[in-house]
Each structure stands twice: as structure tokens, then as C-alpha cells.
């Protein structure tokens, strides 16, 4: 099939960018979206042109590195799917596809479609952990956890940190990402001792990093490739309120 791509090109964080248009006459339905970019880049390189820079690594939807805003949607038209898992069979012959980088002031552009998501790491460093040194653990089965809680915690922990929530949120808010970690640890008995401190510290750094505010549009939940639920945002809101009232 024939695909026309309008891709955001930007040499680096300091120079302005613009859209370039590329036409691929022969795209296979079985290709992934990124493999289509491989083919395009191969062509560009052979012509001596600069290939399109984009982040990707595992290409099986788990590392969270790929990050394209495709036709107005984070990771493209398919829900529950990262860009690397999106296949061209979901597009039609003759389509024009607009591809942009994640846009948020907390995610500055590095080059073309690559952005810097280290703000997420800094939020985790502020408190997204349970303080237990290696070797201090008790026997794993001495902490029974109701299956339902463990499953809920798992659902939160499934976050891949790709940033689609920020990218898709009209406010560039990172609430879904932050709440997924807060909620995972709040649901587990191991996470209780630091529960209040954790949520306060993480929210503080989240705000410092320049993410926007949550206005509950719910777009993040829909566009999240791992289906992280708004339940976690509610839990974080609750914990945040309580921690501010209690302490």
C-alpha cells in the first residue's frame, strides 16, 4: 500500500523544526509502524540524507521507549498498543499520516521524534520505591497479600513509562504515570510505612518538572498502551489529601 508521511523534523533542541513529507509507495501490511520508518530511513541514508531519529528499543511493547504522536493520537489509532506494536494493516492504502514527537515542556525535544523523558525518572527518584536494602527482606510468604490487592497493584505496576499519558493529556499532566507508582505501592502492605511521605514527595517533584494539572478528561486512560486505570489517580488524590491533612 501507498503511505504518505508528514514527519516532524528538528535538528536538535535549539533549532526550530518543521514537517517534511515522504511518500512510501510499497508498504507491507505486516510491517510494524517502526519497520516502515526503518524502510524510509534506509532509503534516506542511501540518498545521503539524515535519517529520522526516533526512540525505540525492545519493539515488543514493553520497554516504553517508542513515542510517536500519530495522526493526533499517542501511539496511533489503536488502543492498548505502543507504536512498535502498531501494524500497518490498521491503515489504508493512500493514507497520509502525521507523525509528531511527544509535546510537553517537561519532555524537551532532542531530535526529530526523540524527546527527553528523564523527568519521569526524577519523579521516581523522589519516592517511587520501598526503602529496603538488599538482604533485609523477610521470607516472601510471611507477607500474605490478598490476591485482589496484588492483582490491582500489578495492574498499576504494568506502566511502561512511555509518556503517552502526558503526550495525550491536553494539559500535559503526568498524573497517570505518577499515580500508577503511588497506587501500586499504596496497595501493598510493604508500601505502608512510606505511604504519605511518598505521595507528597512524588507530587512535589512532578509539579517542579513542569507537568500540567489533571482535569480528569480521562484521555490518558484511553491512550495508555497498558490500560492503566483512572482508579489510580483517584487513589493518589485521596492519599495526597489525607497525607496533607494528617501530617
Amino acid at each position: 500500500m501507498k503511505i504518505t508521511l508528514k514527519v516532524w523534523r528538528q535538528q536538535n533542541g535549539k533549532t526550530p523544526g518543521n514537517f517534511n513529507t515522504y511518500t512510501l509507495p510499497d508498504v507491507s501490511e505486516d510491517m510494524s509502524f517502526l519497520e516502515m520508518f526503518d524502510v524510509l530511513n534506509d532509503e534516506l541514508i542511501r540518498k545521503g540524507e539524515d535519517p529520522i531519529a526516533f526512540d525505540h528499543d525492545c519493539r515488543e511493547g514493553i520497554c516504553g521507549m517508542c513515542s510517536m504522536y500519530i495522526n493526533g493520537r499517542a501511539h496511533g489509532p489503536l488502543t492498548g498498543t505502543t507504536t512498535c506494536q502498531l501494524h500497518m494493516r490498521h491503515f489504508n492504502d493512500g493514507d497520509t499520516i502525521v507523525v509528531e514527537p511527544w509535546r510537553a515542556s517537561a519532555f524537551p525535544i532532542i531530535k526529530d521524534l526523540m524527546v527527553d523523558r528523564s523527568a519521569f525518572d526524577r519523579v521516581i527518584q523522589a519516592g517511587g520505591f520501598i526503602s529496603v536494602n538488599t538482604g533485609n527482606a523477610v521470607d516472601a510468604n510471611s507477607i500474605p497479600i490478598p490476591k485482589e490487592d496484588a492483582d490491582k497493584a500489578f495492574d498499576a505496576a504494568a506502566c511502561i513509562g512511555c509518556g503517552a499519558c502526558v503526550a495525550t493529556c491536553k494539559n500535559a499532566s503526568a498524573m497517570l504515570f505518577v499515580s500508577a507508582k503511588v497506587s501500586q505501592l499504596a496497595l501493598l502492605p510493604q508500601g505502608q510505612p512510606e505511604r504519605h511521605l511518598r505521595v507528597k514527595k512524588m507530587v512535589e517533584v512532578m509539579d517542579e518538572e513542569g507537568f500540567g494539572n489533571c482535569t480528569n478528561t480521562g484521555a490518558c486512560e484511553v491512550e495508555c498502551p497498558k490500560g492503566i486505570s483512572l482508579d489510580h489517580i483517584a487513589r493518589m488524590n485521596r492519599d495526597y489529601l489525607v497525607s496533607n491533612i494528617v501530617d
Binding site: 508528514k6 516532524w8 514537517f19 504522536y69 495522526n71 493526533g72 493520537r73 502525521v98 509528531e100 509535546r103 510537553a104 515542556s105 517537561a106 495525550t168 491536553k170 494539559n171 500535559a172 499532566s173 513542569g210 507537568f211 500540567g212 494539572n213 489533571c214 482535569t215 480528569n216 478528561t217 480521562g218 484521555a219 484511553v222 491512550e223 483512572l230 482508579d231 489517580i233 483517584a234 487513589r235 493518589m236 488524590n237 485521596r238 492519599d239 495526597y240 489529601l241
Partner: protein, 211 residues
């Protein structure tokens, strides 16, 4: 935002219940008694000031949030398709809020300001004289442009609350798989449809009556 918003929702219910007196076919007696009560009762007056404070807070907070959120994404996308991921209302709360603010200014000027500081006609009920709010309202509502403004504004309130009511609960962390759908339904049917519809019915009723 959530606290002030939800408070204003309750205010809206009270306001509506009072204003329904307009529909009493008694030449405005019940309504005028009601408006006098609202203007003079010390408890109500206190609550009214709290209400003004919440309105102001809601407005200021709203503008502040909108500004912050704009700063969080200085450069927007060339192509955005959020139709599948969020409701139109939820994405346009600031716009809807601004329409409501404009309405509020007109509304307060027409009635609240007149009641407090204006030159009001006077009516006598059971020997006592009262400011005749009823006739002021009826006169205002009889003008088609004024009625139209009200109807449009009630649409804005409806859409604002379609998202806002349930959103307030989410922001406060009140979410439960069993009760949240009920909250959402309450937001939709009571706050987004019924209340704005009844409010809108008032100017429409008097406007049509006058034609």
C-alpha cells in the same frame, strides 16, 4: 477546583428550588417573599458571602490552572484527535467556564445589583411592602435576546457540569467501581440536563408568554 465546584453545585440546587417559585401562578407573591428572605436572613447572607468567595475562588483557580496547563505545553500538536479519548466537555471546561462567567456578570447586574443597589419597584404583600423582584425578572425574561442569552448559558452550564460534577469527586479521590457510575449518572441527568433545563425553562416560559 473540586471543593469549590461541588459547593457551587449544591448552591445551584438551592437556587433552582427557590426560583421555581416563579412558576407559581400567584402574581409573584411567593417569589417576592422568597427573594426578600434570601436578601435579609442573616444565615443566608453569610452563606451567600461564602458562596461569592467560592465563585471567586473557582474563577481564579480556573484561570490559574488554565495558564499553568498552557505553560506545560508551549508548542501544541499540528494534528490532534482527542474525540476518541475524552469528552468535548472535559476538554473545554475553561471555555465553558468563561461563558458562564459572562453570564454571571449579566445575571448579577440584572438582579443582584438591582436588588441591592438599584431602584426597584415596590409591591405590597399582606400589608408589608417588598421589592418587586418578580416583575423585574418577568420584564427581563420577556425580552427575547435576554431569554436567548439565558438558554445558551444554561447549555454552557450543562456541559460544564456534565464533566465537572463527576470530575470533582475524582479529584477528591472519591471513586468506587460501584458508586462512581451512579455519581456520573447524577452528574449527567441531574446537573447536566435537568437543572439547566429547568433554569432555562424560566426565561423561555416568560418570553413565550409575552409573545
Amino acid at each position: 477546583m473540586a471543593l469549590s465546584g461541588l459547593f457551587l453545585c449544591t448552591f445551584l440546587v438551592v437556587h433552582l428550588l427557590g426560583n421555581l417559585q416563579l412558576f407559581q401562578n400567584d402574581g409573584g407573591v411567593a417569589f417576592n417573599l422568597y427573594s426578600a428572605f434570601m436578601a435579609n436572613n442573616p444565615l443566608i447572607k453569610t452563606i451567600a458571602y461564602v458562596n461569592y468567595a467560592f465563585i471567586l475562588l473557582h474563577i481564579i483557580d480556573g484561570f490559574y490552572l488554565a495558564a499553568q496547563n498552557r505553560k506545560a505545553r508551549p508548542q501544541g500538536y499540528a494534528k490532534v484527535d482527542q474525540s476518541k479519548s475524552s469528552s468535548w466537555s472535559s476538554r473545554n471546561m475553561a471555555l465553558l467556564g468563561t461563558i458562564i462567567l459572562v453570564f454571571l456578570i449579566v445575571h448579577m447586574k440584572s438582579f443582584w445589583f438591582e436588588m441591592k443597589f438599584g431602584n426597584m419597584p415596590v409591591t405590597t404583600i399582606e400589608g408589608q411592602s417588598y421589592k418587586d423582584m418578580y416583575s423585574v425578572v418577568v420584564e427581563a425574561f420577556s425580552q427575547p435576546w435576554y431569554a436567548a442569552l439565558y438558554v445558551v448559558s444554561m447549555f454552557a452550564i450543562g456541559f460544564h457540569l456534565y464533566h465537572g460534577f463527576a470530575s470533582g469527586f475524582q479529584s477528591l479521590g472519591i471513586r468506587h467501581h460501584r458508586y462512581t457510575p451512579a455519581i456520573q449518572n447524577l452528574g449527567t441527568f441531574l446537573f447536566a440536563i435537568l437543572i439547566p433545563a429547568l433554569f432555562a425553562a424560566m426565561p423561555v416560559y416568560f418570553c413565550l408568554k409575552n409573545l
